[in-house]
Symmetry: C2
Subunit: 478 residues, 2 copies
């Protein structure tokens, strides 16, 4: 990226020629500017410097390039181990303090070489279906499993199947609801199928499940994600099916009486392995024992490159510290970057961090785990008074349109901390494109815009810095 | 896109299985919800219906698919004529009223088959440079033109060249300033080089100009755009050079004494041709003679597909009417979709519309011409009292984060209307990615996200509808 530095002579001599397009510059005026506020408010200047630094030096994007070069980073994999080393080295290179690894045992699940399915219509055509194993799934028997298919959309439909489900494949085909503005809401309404499908189907005797991919895109890319089993309920194979293949299968079921699907998966769960959270910080200049966390999760699914989920969050967390250091903004309290391990299929890193850190005083935890898109604000999981204290600073985020501070989700990795009463704050980017990529081969760095990624880092840096300076105690700032 | 219809049984039975991810749904709570407002405000329900319709039916995206299939649509080209027919047919198909063409004469500039440049270092290597002719440029002499190169960044540097510029190629290499959050501001500061470069360079005797492409991306794609000549000043050839090639040329100039650039362009300006604005409307149910415009421009540069610039705006304008019709929202005043011709290199369509429509009563004109990205709000070019009247309705746009109503640019095509006192309102999308694509081969439909495009259409539909219902007169709503 190129910046015209403020001190240069270039800025003083521009725009002698009028063009209609140049009028667009007027767009930048914000409502507060219109009111002609002459007196800058606290941290106004600092936050503008942070935004400018983030826009001029694409530090997060460069970090993300390094991380995604490793490839996908499923917990316990060699790539995940490489990512831990990468994170450690990067934090050391950036001059963070107290850089260290926090050991954590993680589950190890491997996809195996084969994941395929096709529909067989009588003795007729064979229609390939795009599928991938869901995380934690067991394999099919060698050579695959074949069964008639029953399509369902609701849990009551599953229950109503009763004995008719025996030996069949249950096909969960309730789509994410495109009608929501916030795609996370659509996800939240549909993802119960992925998590709970295998247990519900196994309880009525099904031999396997297919789950419509959790995406709003209609294409032939299956989206993985974790699923669950229950003790005492048979563990049956579970696969995601692309939205296009789901539509194909739906049509086939509509018009063919004699239809079976054959599914073959070779995934397996192995013994837990040693991995680690990666931690580094800027020590607080006055209250080093009080900590504000910025974080993301270092593991990803074993599809694509885990660029948006959650390479972006790791890169932004580290970048937010780099920016503060670059601007010589030594915070009153410690700001700590944490790259959590194993968000996707175990949350072991988040739990371990919370357990180990129980003694520390955490003022707040900020996580980015909703994609590297232009930030719109933050969701806050904390009492109303705390939210109000945070929302005081929203004007600092307004110059980049990230000033929406609302009640909401903090982050999966910082959920265990929130159970200890730590305010959990989640970066909230524009959500329209996230589930196009999420948990699939499409989640690669080419899908990340450098400037949007940098804006998220700037938003985290601003909020972390002002909380580290001011704290979140009601009343006097300290 | 898939929607779970409100009335379906699907929505009532979801989410029986708890997952951590589902917590993300809580993100949707907005500040006004937190306050637990029980009583809906005016148009709350209608605007939510509009947003939902836009998210469920990708009408704008389908229109854009049709339009971009034609290819780029430079004024006076066969493609532009095809686009006029397409627009007319589409409006008829959508059931708009009074669909008609408004004739307008447009300039005709053709790029020609050749546009190439290379740097020659002494008798040594030849370094190819990625260039394209700027719109309105004259050709080089057949076989090209060769000259030494002088790099400049400011107008005073050009003036200071004096006689030393004679016979040389002036290379304008002041980058867009990445440090701005709003990329239009960076564009507005740099685009004076493209518009004014040829005249300024010709005045000191230069034989041609190269202008650094107006983009924040560093790649090898040149970005075109219009330039200008002045009577009495020699017309010299003008080309945009990609940012990577600009950096290469800068480096070569730094270290090579004996460097020349050869530039060859075969573009030419032909006689004006007949074209048209495309117009259709929903007649107002009470005050049909009062008009709210929604528009975009139908012409594009002759690179890529003109998808973001401004196929998106045309598609959104038409889609906003489709949505209102689909929801049976008959507006009090007329809402008129206008696809303007010749924004890029003449503004003839915008001027013609304003001239012809002088007798009508235009309540407001809304244009989308800043890309099909997620909307953030609207810029308003109107007196402060009018802006305040519009800003009353910002809460209707808040559910999709498009509630920023600020002083600013309305739109190039509606600028002539604004000179007649018509409030000019510009859709303001997130700007980070726009100049990656703008005026280049990269501006294709693959760069447009359907949901982001639809949100812009929803924002236009909401604002157009509420203005058509309520008017923009201070005091009583009517």
């Amino acid at each position: 990226m190129r910046c015209v530095r403020e001190s240069g002579h270039l800025r003083t001599l521009h725009a002698l020629v009028f063009t209609l397009h140049a009028l667009a510059a007027a767009m930048l005026i914000t409502p507060s500017d219109v009111g002609a506020q002459a007196v800058p408010r606290p941290y106004d200047l600092v936050s503008k410097q942070i935004i400018r630094e983030a826009m001029c030096e694409p530090g997060a994007y460069q970090l993300l390039e390094g991380l995604t070069r490793i490839g996908p980073r499923l917990s316990g994999s060699q790539n995940a181990a490489a990512a831990v080393r990468w994170g450690y080295d990067a934090m050391v290179s950036l001059g963070f303090e107290d850089v260290h690894l926090e050991p954590v045992m993680v589950p190890v699940w491997e996809r195996g070489d084969i994941e395929r399915a096709h529909a067989v219509v009588g003795s007729g055509p064979v229609v390939p279906l795009a599928v991938c194993a869901l995380g934690s799934s067991v394999a099919t028997p060698a050579g695959g499993i074949e069964g008639e298919v029953v399509e369902v959309h609701t849990w009551s439909e599953v229950d109503a199947l009763g004995a008719t489900a025996k030996g069949r494949i249950v096909f969960f085909n309730r789509p994410m609801d495109a009608g929501h503005y916030n795609t996370f809401e659509a996800y939240g309404e549909a993802v119960d199928q992925r998590g709970g499908g295998p247990v519900a189907a196994a309880k009525v005797g099904a031999c396997a499940v297919l789950i419509r991919s959790m995406t709003l895109a209609i294409d032939d890319v299956p989206h993985t994600g974790n699923t669950h089993y229950e003790d005492g309920v048979p563990r049956i194979p579970a696969a995601a099916i692309s939205t296009l293949s789901a539509d194909t299968l739906h049509s086939l079921l509509d018009r063919e009486r004699d239809l079976k699907v054959r599914l073959e998966l070779t995934c397996e769960t192995k013994p837990d392995a040693l991995s680690a959270n990666v931690i580094g910080e800027i020590r607080g200049r006055e209250k080093p024992e009080e900590v504000v966390i910025v974080g993301g999760h270092l593991d990803s699914w074993d599809k694509g490159q885990g660029a948006h989920d959650d390479g972006a969050g790791c890169a932004q967390a580290m970048e937010s510290l780099r920016i503060l250091k670059e601007l010589d903004l030594a915070p009153r309290r410690t700001i700590r970057a944490v790259l959590f391990m194993n968000e996707e299929n175990g949350l072991r890193g988040g739990r371990e961090y919370a357990a180990v850190a129980r003694g520390d005083r955490h003022v707040a935890a900020i996580e980015s785990d909703a994609g590297g898109f232009a930030p719109r604000g933050f969701g806050v999981n904390a009492p109303r008074e705390t939210l109000d204290l945070i929302a005081r600073w929203s004007y600092l985020l307004a110059p980049m349109g990230a000033d929406r501070i609302i009640e909401g989700h903090g982050g999966v990795d910082i959920w265990p901390l929130s159970l200890q009463g730590v305010p959990a704050i989640g970066l909230m980017p524009e959500s329209q494109r996230y589930f196009d990529y999420h948990h699939s081969d499409k989640d690669v760095i080419a899908a990340v815009n450098p400037r949007e990624l940098q804006l998220g880092a700037a938003a985290m840096a601003i909020l972390a810095y002002v909380i580290a300076e001011e704290g979140l105690e009601a009343g006097a700032s300290q």
